[in-house]
């Protein structure tokens, strides 16, 4: 009883007999909090629904949409290739677009997004090893002399 009394006296946990005024931080979190309001969680839910986090595979319509996106990215690549003004920006742009296509195919067409995580680990591990070897070969040749024919 005494414990309860002191608790009520010293710690404000709601409206006691002294009727402290409510403060804003005791209110439940407002729904529209954050710079984008509900946008981010809504997009996350939509993404999970579309990419079927609970389902086993996407729908044919979803796969067709991914195919259309891949085609559009390829068109952008070819269009960007013909722009001479891009200069040195061409390389990073092409790599970025290529990476986007790569990820879309691996995640959705190869079902890594829907499948067991273990397969993703196996493939990602090998990819990292492959990229490391790739960088090692380039570094070795660049720092080890030149070959010309």
């Amino acid at each position: 009883m005494a414990n309860n009394f002191w608790n009520r006296l010293l710690y404000h946990s709601g409206n006691g007999w002294w009727e402290l005024p409510k403060t804003p931080w005791e209110e439940p979190k407002p729904k529209m909090e954050g710079p984008f309001g509900d946008g981010v969680p809504i997009i996350q839910r939509m993404f999970n629904r579309i990419t079927a986090a609970q389902l086993l595979h996407g729908t044919p319509a979803f796969y067709t949409m991914i195919g259309a996106i891949l085609s559009i990215i390829t068109l952008i690549e070819v269009w960007a290739f013909n722009i001479q003004e891009l200069g040195k920006m061409l390389l990073p742009l092409m790599l970025l677009l290529s990476l986007g296509k790569f990820v879309l195919v691996v995640a959705f067409f190869m079902h890594l997004r829907f499948d067991r995580k273990y397969y993703a680990w196996v493939f990602t591990g090998c990819m990292l090893l492959g990229v490391a070897m790739f960088i090692a070969v380039l570094a070795l040749i660049n720092f080890g002399g030149q070959t010309q024919q």
Binding site: H57, I66, G67, S71, V122, C126, T147
Partner: protein
């Protein structure tokens, strides 16, 4: 979602009972491991292409010979074959035989069209004077794209066999894993081409005569 039926037997989401102690399909794990090793295989050849990029001293050079519009069309064909592949798997898993057969046949046809594009390209290059023995660009180009073409050929043969099995009723929803494995292989061939198209065709296509190189005269 998988359901354990005994200590080592697991029923997969499509009704197939597989013998595994890990809860994973051994066939699929093997395929992913193979694809992982193939990443390193192609990584080595792509790295070799980049190492020797811009080091040929005689023509034809990439800017003289590469035809981006044609290769863009063949890239589109391969991307669409990947889409057809995933649709084929989806319909076979649903037990829709005619749609499944149609999309598997589409993959085979698109794969053959892609191969014909490659045959056309190789023939044209040879007629123009670029062979694997001409210069470093020719050697690395033909080896890399040729190995990719060999992968496509194997994929087409594999899928033709699966199409036959599907039409005969041997490939059904409960053993669609066999088509899924072929699909993984086919999509991998597609992603390798995505990288090749970017590295060889889009990034290197503007490479002209390097310092010390002899300008190439057509014909």
């Amino acid at each position: 979602m998988t359901t354990a039926t005994s200590t080592y037997e697991v029923k997969t989401e499509h009704g197939e009972v597989v013998n595994t102690s890990t809860g994973l399909s051994n066939k699929k794990l093997l395929m992913w491991s193979f694809l992982g090793s193939d990443v390193m295989f192609f990584g080595a050849f792509i790295a070799t292409f980049l190492v020797y990029r811009d080091r040929s001293l005689v023509g034809p050079y990439p800017s003289d010979i590469l035809d981006i519009p044609i290769t863009s069309v063949s890239t589109f064909v391969l991307l669409m074959s990947s889409l057809a592949m995933v649709l084929a798997l989806s319909y076979v898993q649903q037990g829709r035989k005619i749609l499944g057969a149609f999309w598997i046949a589409s993959v085979v046809v698109l794969g053959i069209i892609f191969m014909l594009f490659q045959v056309y390209e190789f023939t044209t290059f040879a007629q123009e004077g670029l062979t694997p023995r001409t210069n470093l660009f020719g050697t690395t180009f033909f080896i890399l794209t040729g190995l990719h073409g060999a992968h496509v050929t194997i994929g087409v043969l594999w899928l033709s066999f699966l199409l036959y099995a599907h039409l005969k009723g041997a490939l059904r929803a409960n053993n669609a894993i066999d088509l899924e494995l072929a699909g993984l292989y086919w999509h991998f061939v597609d992603i390798v081409w995505i990288v090749i198209f970017t590295v060889i065709y889009l990034i290197s296509a503007r490479d002209g005569v390097p310092p010390g190189g002899v300008p190439w005269v057509h014909g």
